[in-house]
Symmetry: D2
C-alpha cells in the first residue's frame, strides 16, 4: 500500500483525494497540506479518512512513511515544490502546467533525474476512455499514417474574469490539454504553430488581455497537420471531440452523455447534451492517471506522462502566443 | 419503349405517372383513364405529356399499342380489372391489396397464368433503399439464420374517419405492407398470427369498428418469430424501422431525414424528424418498382413481387383480424 | 454509518460487497456469511475490509450492530431467510426473484410488514442511468399517454446447460428483469400475457426443457401494449434497449459502449459493440440500488422497489410460461 | 418553357443535360455543342431528346429561340464564352471557376451587367439539402453570431496526375467549393488566409507541383474564423462535412449514405460509408441549381450565386496559394 501526500487542497487536490479514496487500489492518503487550514477542510479530510492535515507541505516531505506526493498547489509553486520533493526522495505527480517558463521546467526535470524518482504530469485526458480509444487504434496502425489531427475543445462557460487575469492566457490554461492531445494522438512532436485568436464570447476577456475563441494550426515533425479549435463557451455544454485522419481511414470520438436516451417529438429527435464539465466528463481519468502513477512507482515503470510531455505543450503554448501576437507562423525552436 | 396505360387517376395513379415521366427509362404513358374526367385532370395529363385521357379503362385495354397497364383504381375493382386486362393480353401491375378475398386473388392469378402475362403487386417498400439494404445483407447470410424480425410502422396522422370506415381495417390498409416486409426480410412464409390491438389515438376510430394501435406476433415457417408494432399517429412523423436479428448478428434500419443536420443547443442535440409521409419517404421506390416491372416485361423476367406475394399478406391480415376478434393465435390455414 | 451483513458470498454477494466498499457512502459491511468458507473467501473478505466471515447466516441475524442484510444466497433460500431476517428486526434487501411461488413471496411480504422493516428487491436496472432517463421523461409526461412499450434484451452468451436446468427457465431467470422494466417504464400493472418462444440458439437448451428465443406481448391495465424480445445469444454482445411510444412522442435508449470512438475505413463506419455483459453494463446500478436502500433505511423512506414489485414480475413470468405451454393469452389472475 | 443551350458536352455538360431532362420543370435543351462531335455524342444527345448537336458554340449563341446557355466548356474558355454569350443577349450559367484571373472575371461581370442578362456560377453545393439545412438555420439566427465555421472536404481518390498538372492546383480545383461554403455558411466575406499544405497521399502530386493535404484558416470580416481541412484521398469515400459554431449553439452536417442500415456483429456496429463521389452525392443539387437559375431567368429574380460569388472564392484561392508559397497569412487585398 503506497502512502501518498497531497500538497494543495483546492479543487484539483480534492478531486485527486476523492478518486484515490474511491477508485485507486494500492494507495492511501497519509496527509494533505494547504496554506490555509479551515474547519471545513479539516472536516472534509476526516470524511475522506485522511489522517493528517498540515498547513506546511514541508511536513509531508519530511514524513518518511510517505513515498509519493501530488503537487496540486498554485501553478507558480509547481516547479519549486516539485524540485524540493524530488530532493526529499519523493516520487512526484505534478499538476499541469509544470511552469510557464521552459527553463524552470528543465530545472525540475534535472532535479527529478538526479534524485531518481518518478515524475508524472497531470495530463489526465491521456487516460480518458475516448481519447485512449483513438490513440490505441492509431498506435495499432489502423488508420495508417496520420495526415490530419483535429481537436475540438470548447468549455461550457468562460471562467471568471478574475481567473482569466491570472490564468496565463487561454493557451496555457485551456489549450494546453489540446496541445498535449495533438502530440499524444499523432505520436509526433510539433515543429511550427500558427494561431488565430479573437474575442467573441465576452469583451471583458479581451480587456483582460486574453482571447476566448481560437483556431491553431500545427505542423508536426512527422509531416502531419494538427488543427485545434477552441471556445470558452459552448451553449450546449462541454465539447470534447477529436479525429485522426490517415492513409487508411479516420477515427473520431464524440461527446459522452449522461444517458443514451433519445426523445422523438414534434420538434425533432433530441439526444442529451454532453456531460457538463471536466469534473463530470473526466472524473474516471483522474482516478486512472493516479492508478497508473502508483503502478509506475510500485513496479518501477516509466510514467506514461513524463517530463518531456510536461515541457512540450508549454513550448507549443509559447509559440502559439507569439504567433498570435506577431500574426505569423512560429517555430518551436524560436521559443525553446 | 414500352407503352403503358394507367387505370385510375387518383393519388397513386398520379404518383406512378409522375415517377414514370421523370425516372423510368424505357417506358412511356400512352393513356390514363378515370371514372371521372375533370378539367383539372385533363390539364394535369397534358402537363405530364400523356396523349390520351379516357373515361373508360376498356379503351386502354383495347389499344393494341399499349403493352402493360397499371391498375390504380379503387380496391374493389383491382381483381376484375386485372382479370380483364390479363385476358386482353396486357401485362398487369396491380396496386395492393389485390383484394381482401383470397378466392378473388386466386382468380386473378389463374387468369394471369392462363394469359401468360406478367403480374406484379404494388408492394413498393421492397424497392426502398433501406429495406433493400437489410434484405440484401440477410439474403447474403451476413446475419446467419434469422431469429427475430421486427418491423415498426407508425403513420404521422390517422386517416380521416370516412376513410377508416371503408378501408377494410388497419391490418388491410396499413399493416399489409408490414406483413409483406416480414415475409420479404425473413424469406419465409408465416404460419400463425397473434394480434393485440386497441384504440389509443382516436376514439372515433374505435367507433368506426377499427383499431389504431397494434402489436402483432408472427410464427414463421422457418422457425423465426416476427413482431410488428403499429400506430396510426406518431407525433414525430412517419416512423419506418426494421431489424432482423440472427445467429451471426443483427441489421437494422432507421428513418430517412431531409438532411443530416444536427443542432446542438441549450435544450439538447437535435436531429431532424423523419421524412413526413409515404410520398416523401417512398417516392423513389415507386419509380423503382415500375422500372423493375418494365424490365420484367421487356426482358421476359419473373416479376419481383408476384401473385403469391399479393396473396400471402392478405391471408396474414385475415388471420390477424380473426386473432384480434377471438383473442387467440390463428393459423394461416384457418383463413386460406 | 449503517452496518450491513451480506448473506451469500457468490457472484452477486461479492458484486454488492465491492460496490458498497467503493461507492456507497453511509454504509459499511460488518459481516458476510456463506455456506462454504474457503481460504480464498477469507482472503477476499479481508481485502474488502469486511471484519467478520461466518459459515452461518444466523450469526449475522444475531448481531445487534447489524441493521440491514442483503440476501444474496441461492434463490430457494431467499424467502425463508428474508422472513427470518425480518423477524430478527433487520431491514432486508433481497435479490431477485424473491421466489418462484407467489404464495411464498406473500409470506415474505407479510413478515416484513409485521416486523415493520424495510424491504427492497434487487431489480437493479431501475437504477440504471439509461432506463432511469426513459422513466423520468415518461413520468414527467413528455411522451403523453404511453401506447407501446418495447424492451429488447439479449444476452451475449447462453448460460451453461447445467445452469439452464436449475434456473427455473428463461422467463424467471432473464426475462424477469424485462417484465419489471415494462411495469417500471409504463407505470402500469400487467393484465394479460402472450408468449411465443422457441429454441434457435442451442438445441441443448431445448433438451433441458427451456427456450432461448422469445417474443412476449403484454396487455397493460392502462390500455398500453408491452412487447419484449429476448435471445440468449447476440453475436455482438449484450443488447439492452427500450422504447416508450406515446401520444406526444417516443423515447428510446440504445446500448452503452466503452467509448464513443468511430472508425471510418474501407469496410464501413464502425462503432464499438455494446458493453459485454451485466457486470460491465450495470455495475453502477448495483451501487446505486444499495445507496438507495441505505437511504430508505436511514431516513425511513419507502424503498423504490417494494414487495409488490418483487411479486408482480413473478406472476407475469408464470403467466408467460403458461401461455407458452398452452399457446394462448393468459391473464395474471389465472396464476395469482 | 425556357429553351437552353449547353456549351460543352464533357462530364459536367452531360450531368446538367441529364438533370434538366429529368428534374427541371420549365426548361428544355434545344442544343448542345462540343468542339468534338463523335457518334457516341450524337447518339447520347438523341437519347436525351436534344434536337441539335453543334460543333461550334456560336450556333447556339445565334439561335434566337435559345434564351440561356450553360457554359460547361474547358475552364480557360469560361470567361470569353460567357462574355460572348452575354453580348448575344443570352442569360449565362457558368461553371466554376469562372477564371483563375480576377481581372478576367471582372470583365465577365462587366459584360453581364452591360447586357442586362442573368449570370449564375456553378457552386452547386449551395443547393445541397445538407448545406442548405445549415445555412437556413444559421441565417435564421438559431446559432446566434457565428464564431467558428469548419468545413471538412475529402475526396475518395486523387485525380489522375495528368489532370493535376492542368487543374490549376488543389485550391482552385477542389478547395474552391469549400471557400464558397465558408462565405455561404458564415454570410461574411474573407479578409485573410493562412494555408498549410503538404503531400501525403501521392508523391507524384508533389512532383507535379501541387499538394494533396491542407488545412486553411480564414479570418472573416464579421470576426468569425473559418477552417477547412482537405485531403485528396479518404479511404472511406467522399467526406463532406461542415459545422457552424456560434453564440447560441452549433449546427453540423454529416455524410449522406446509401441507406440507414447498420449491421451489428462480432466486429462492431457498422454503418455504411458515405456516398462515393460528387455525382452520387450532389446529383440533386445539380438539378436544383439549374431549376433556380431557370426561375431567376423566367421570373426576373437575382440569381442565388452571383458574379461576386464567382469572384471571391478565386481571390481566396489566390491568397491561399500565396500563403502556402510564402508561409505567412495573406490578405485578400494583396491578391485582388
Amino acid at each position: 500500500m503506497l502512502k501518498v501526500g497531497i500538497i494543495g487542497a483546492g479543487r484539483i487536490g480534492r478531486v485527486h483525494s476523492e478518486s484515490i479514496s474511491k477508485y485507486v487500489k494500492g494507495a492511501e492518503i497519509k496527509a494533505i497540506s494547504d496554506v490555509k487550514i479551515t474547519e471545513e477542510l479539516t472536516a472534509w479530510a476526516k470524511s475522506m479518512g485522511i489522517p493528517e492535515v498540515y498547513d506546511d507541505y514541508k511536513k509531508i516531505l519530511q514524513d518518511p512513511e510517505i513515498d509519493a506526493v501530488l503537487v496540486c498547489s498554485s501553478t507558480n509553486t509547481h516547479a519549486p515544490i516539485s524540485i524540493e520533493a524530488a530532493q526529499a526522495g519523493k516520487h512526484v505527480f505534478c499538476e499541469k502546467p509544470v511552469d510557464a517558463d521552459p527553463a524552470k521546467i528543465r530545472e525540475v526535470l534535472s532535479a527529478v533525474e538526479k534524485a531518481g524518482v518518478k515524475f508524472q504530469v497531470g495530463f489526465n485526458r491521456r487516460f480518458d476512455h475516448n481519447f485512449k480509444a483513438i490513440k490505441d487504434r492509431v498506435a495499432a496502425g489502423d488508420i495508417g499514417e496520420p495526415h490530419v489531427i483535429r481537436v475540438t475543445s470548447r468549455d461550457p462557460e468562460a471562467p471568471p474574469i478574475e481567473y482569466v487575469k491570472v490564468s496565463g492566457g487561454m493557451f496555457f490554461d485551456m489549450t494546453i490539454h489540446d496541445f498535449d492531445m495533438i502530440r499524444y494522438l499523432s505520436g509526433s512532436e510539433v515543429e511550427e504553430v500558427f494561431a488565430v485568436g479573437t474575442v467573441l464570447v465576452n469583451p471583458e476577456i479581451g480587456k483582460a488581455g486574453d482571447i476566448d475563441t481560437a483556431v491553431i494550426t500545427l505542423k508536426l515533425k512527422n509531416g502531419a497537420i494538427g488543427v485545434i479549435d477552441n471556445s470558452r463557451k459552448a451553449a450546449y455544454g462541454y465539447d470534447q471531440r477529436a479525429e485522426v485522419f490517415g492513409s487508411k481511414g479516420a477515427i473520431h470520438i464524440t461527446n459522452d452523455t449522461g444517458s443514451t436516451a433519445v426523445f422523438s417529438g414534434e420538434n425533432g429527435v433530441v439526444a442529451e447534451k454532453p456531460k457538463y464539465f471536466f469534473l463530470e466528463r473526466y472524473m474516471q481519468s483522474f482516478a486512472d492517471e493516479i492508478s497508473c502513477f502508483v503502478d509506475s512507482v510500485v513496479n518501477d515503470k516509466p510514467t506514461l506522462v513524463n517530463g518531456n510531455d510536461g515541457l512540450q505543450p508549454v513550448l507549443i503554448a509559447l509559440a502559439a502566443k507569439k504567433s498570435l501576437e506577431e500574426n505569423r507562423p512560429v517555430k518551436l525552436s524560436e521559443v525553446a
